[in-house]
Structures are given as C-alpha cells and as structure tokens.
C-alpha cells in the first residue's frame, strides 16, 4: 500500500526522478486498459490485417496472400452488401420513428394520476429486458401462418390470414417486434423528461389560458426534445447491431428481405469461410455504425468534459 502512498503522485508528477514514472491513475486504469487492448483491440487489429488478404479457411496458406483493397472493392461493389445496408437502415429508422410515438404516448399516459402506477410501469418494462433470443423465437410462434395466434385473431374478425413472415411482410413483422420490445425504453426516458418539467411553467401557462394541445405543442414537446434525441440516438445505434431476435425470428429471410448488416456479416463469416471478405465486411460495418454514432459520441464526450470536477 505504501507504494502508492505519496500524495504528490496523485497529480501524475514524479518529483524525485527525471525519467517518467507512472502516476497513481495509471495503475488504476491499467486492468481495464489491458482487457480492452488485449481482448478488444487485438482481435480488431488482427481482423484489419486479415481484411487485406485472400485468406480462406478452405485454402491453406492463403492468409499470406495480400490483395490490397480487393476485398473492400468486392464488398462495396456487391448488391448483397447494399441490400443489407438498405434493410438495416429501413429497419432501424422505421422502428425508432414508431417507438418515439408509442413511447411518448405511454409516457404521457403513465404521467397521469391513477392507482398502482408503479406496478404498471414495472409491467411495461418486461418486453425491454426479456432475453432478445427468447423474444425472437416467441414472435416467430405468434406469427405462424397456420397455427399462430395473430392469424387466429385476424381470421376471427373475418380477415384473411396474413403471411407475417412471407416476402412482403417479414421486414414489417420484425419492425413490429422491435417496436414491442423497445417502446418501453422510450417510455422510461420520456417519462423521466416529463417528470422534470418545472411545475411553475405549467401553472403559468394555465393562468395564461393555454389549451391542452397548446401546452403540449409549446411547452411539453420542446422540453422533451432532448430526451427524445438521446433515446433515439442510443436506439438507432443499438438497433443497427441487432442480431439475436432477427436471427431467431426470420434468420434474415425469406431470401434476404430481413438480412441486416449483422445477419449478413454473420452468414458470410460462418457459411463461406472467406475470412478476407468477412473481416472487411465487419470493418465496413464498424465504420458505418461509428459514423452514425458520431453525434451521440460527441454529445456524451462533451457533456462529461463539462461536468468534470
């Protein structure tokens, strides 16, 4: 313990030596940094290297066969890849747009006065924390064309059966599944926003004779906007990486109508054994997600920099 004891080391300066000596903070950061470098950065660098080779698991020795940017050119020139990008964007953006509306509606309803409010809030959280793989497989059961419960409801009101997981509907169906799973997240974040609105502002607006819709439009909504932006950013980024529930509900099919970037990278990686191509797909995927994340990263980084002691 005495090794880290001298207070002067706390600010990272080593008074008695001319060479650099790590400060206390260094030792506190070391375990986490080691895990991130060895387990996270190491394999990613390895993949970066592999993406410039023609490495295929079925051809021994091909991992030394450098092909420059060939893999990247192949991927960016393939229709399959652009299909996956398009499916991912349609899935993420439509799901998040609907979740904003549904989540806001739930939050407003939950913000009313009624009995057992906290119990209902807890119940609504269940879809959000349920194991996504379990969600995927159960929605597949619910969507079954012949024996599924949704079609039972549809036919019992006199409508024809819907091919929920057919070519036309399956992207819509996985979006509905995500809306079900994720709207509670929007509900909780937006509810946190609603509960922090200053009561005095509302009282003042009432005195001034504002109608309910005017209050929502000019007071509540502007106040909630940053909460909505944070929830939407987190969710757009996370949904681009969604794998489990889509894999179990549709496995990317039929054909490739629900093949998102994640499913595409997984299928290429574990069916084709073409490592060079797979790693380049994975790295392009990282670049896409990071560029979409940039505004949120900037916001989180800036807000912590401002809050430092």
């Amino acid at each position: 313990m005495s090794m880290t004891g001298r207070g002067s080391q706390a600010d990272g300066t080593a008074p008695h030596s001319t060479s650099w000596r790590p400060g206390t903070a260094f030792w506190f950061l070391l375990p986490a940094a080691a895990v991130l470098i060895v387990i996270y950065a190491g394999p990613l660098l390895f993949a970066f290297h592999a993406s410039f080779t023609a490495w295929s698991l079925v051809q021994p020795g091909s991992d030394k066969d450098y092909v420059g940017l060939q893999n990247y050119e192949d991927v960016l020139g393939s229709g399959e890849y652009w299909n996956a990008v398009s499916v991912t964007l349609r899935y993420s953006l439509s799901a998040v747009a609907i979740e904003l509306v549904v989540g806001t509606a739930f939050a407003l309803l939950l913000n009313l006065e009624f009995f057992c409010r906290s119990m209902f809030r807890s119940l609504m959280v269940i879809p959000m924390v349920m194991t996504p793989a379990v969600t995927g497989i159960f929605w597949k059961l619910l969507y079954e064309q012949q024996s599924g419960v949704y079609n039972y409801f549809v036919t019992s009101v006199g409508l024809p059966r819907v091919a929920w997981l057919g070519v036309d509907m399956s992207l819509v169906s996985i979006i509905i599944m995500d809306v079900w799973q994720t709207s509670p997240f929007f509900m909780l974040v937006i509810l946190a926003g609603l509960q922090s609105i200053d009561e005095n502002v509302i009282a003042a607006a009432k005195v001034d004779g504002a109608s309910a819709s005017q209050m929502f439009r000019y007071i509540t909504l502007p106040f909630l906007a940053p909460y909505m932006a944070i929830a939407a950013s987190f969710r757009i980024i996370a949904s681009m990486g969604d794998f489990d529930k889509i894999f179990l509900a549709t496995a990317g099919g039929p054909g490739s109508v629900t093949t998102t970037m994640s499913i595409f990278a997984f299928k290429t990686g574990f069916n084709a054994f073409d490592i060079g191509r797979t790693t380049s797909i994975a790295l392009i995927f990282v670049l896409i997600v990071l560029s979409v994340s940039a505004p949120l990263l900037w916001f989180l980084f800036k807000s912590t920099a401002a809050e430092r002691h």
Partner: protein
Amino acid sequence: MYRYRTLRRSLVTLLWIGVSLFYLFPYTWMVMTGFRNPIDTLTMPPRFIFQPNLEGFRYIFTTTGFQHYLVNSIIVTVSATVLIIATAAPAAYALTHLKTRGRAFLLVILVARMVPGVAVVIPFYLVAAKLGQLDTYHVLILIFTAFNLPFAIWLLRSFFREIHPELREAAIMDGCSELRVFGRIMLPLAAGGLVATGVFVFIAAWNEFLFALVLTNSQAPTAPIAILGFRTEYGTQWGAIGAAALLISTPVIVFAIVMQKYLVRGLTMGSIR
C-alpha cells in the same frame, strides 16, 4: 371535487389494465406456452384456458440436459460480472477523481461501446480458433468482459462523480494512501452504483446469444443457446421452449424490476437520471 378525482383515477386505471393486457400479450403467451400441455401448443383455436402442466419443464431437465446450459450461464455470467466490476471500478474512479491524461481513454471507451457485437465476435473467433480456445468458459468470460467494460466504466463514472472530491483531498492530507482512499472511502460510498452497474452487466451477459452461438459448441454453451436444440426434425418442441424461456427470462425481469430506480440511468449510460 374529491369524488370526481377518484372517478378519473379509476378510469385511467381501467385504461391501463387494458393497455397492459394488450401490450403484454406476447409475454403472457410465452408463460402460457411454458405451462400448457405441449400437445395443445399449436391447436386451433388456441387454448387460453387450460389445466397448468409441468411437462415442458420435466422434458427439458430429464431429456435435454437443460441444467448443463443453466450452470454454464451462471458460471460465465457471474465470472464476467465480477471481472467487469473489478476492472471498471478503479478505472472509473481514476477517470473521475484523479488527474489523468484520460480524455483520450474516455473517447476510446465510448467508441468501443458503439462497435456492434457481430464485428467484435468475428475477429475474436479467428483469434480464439487460432489459439485452440473455442468452446471454453474463459473465452466466453473474456469477450463478455471486454464487450461490457466500456459501458460499465461509463456508468460507474456517473456514480463516482456524485462523491465530493474534497473527501479524497482531506483523506490524503491525513496521510491516507490512494489505495486506501479508494478501498475504504470511495468504494463504500459508490456501493449503490456498483450494485446497479453489476446488475446491468449481469443482465447483458445473461441475455447474450450471439457470442455464445459463435464461440461455443458442446462444452460451454449458455442457456439461450439451448433453445436452438429444441427445434428438431420432428418439429419444434414449443412446450420445452416455453419452459426454458421462462427459466431464462424470469431472473432478468426480476432484477430489472428491483433496479427500476436506476434503469433509465443505466440505459442511457448515465446521461439521464
């Protein structure tokens, strides 16, 4: 006036009963599937009222060895959670209370947080395969740890930030070592945050499917992977899936409800309280 209020509250409560029954139907259906006689899972019209039956549970434990998967899940999830908190807590503390050139580190962990799982697991798979370490506990524990560490550090920082820096300065003045300040003052004060972060990380690791799918085979697969095995050539064993799904998802639902106070904060990495 008072009676009008009670009436209004009752009506909204009724509305919420309707909303939650409708919204939670898929979950209710899962619970029913777990307790329904497996033969009746796909009958038309569907059976909403039935005699509860434990056949699905009996089947998964006696025929499929589901307990093996559950034990794996517990070993891997608990180890990863302990490892994450043990490495994240000192890092989060240092990034909040010590003078560091840590701004670059903060940016790195944020970027690491945004990398999608599939892009992490493919390179990791290649390295693990090269080292002959596939289908082991430690490979799964390490990737769970690395994947959730950025989140844990970021969330823990928001808890350490609530502790006054003067506490550390006063203790140092009194001759306390940095390690002692951390262990005796900071960790106890951040206990609530450590538990909350631990629960979040536990839920994430417990629910994880993709890494276990890619990195394990027969020795170390976790509980969500077991579900894949219930789809046989004779059809899908829905009773078994329902029973397994209940056993997998109940612990995380209970944890999440207990930790409700911190849920929003955890999900937004501390940016909304």
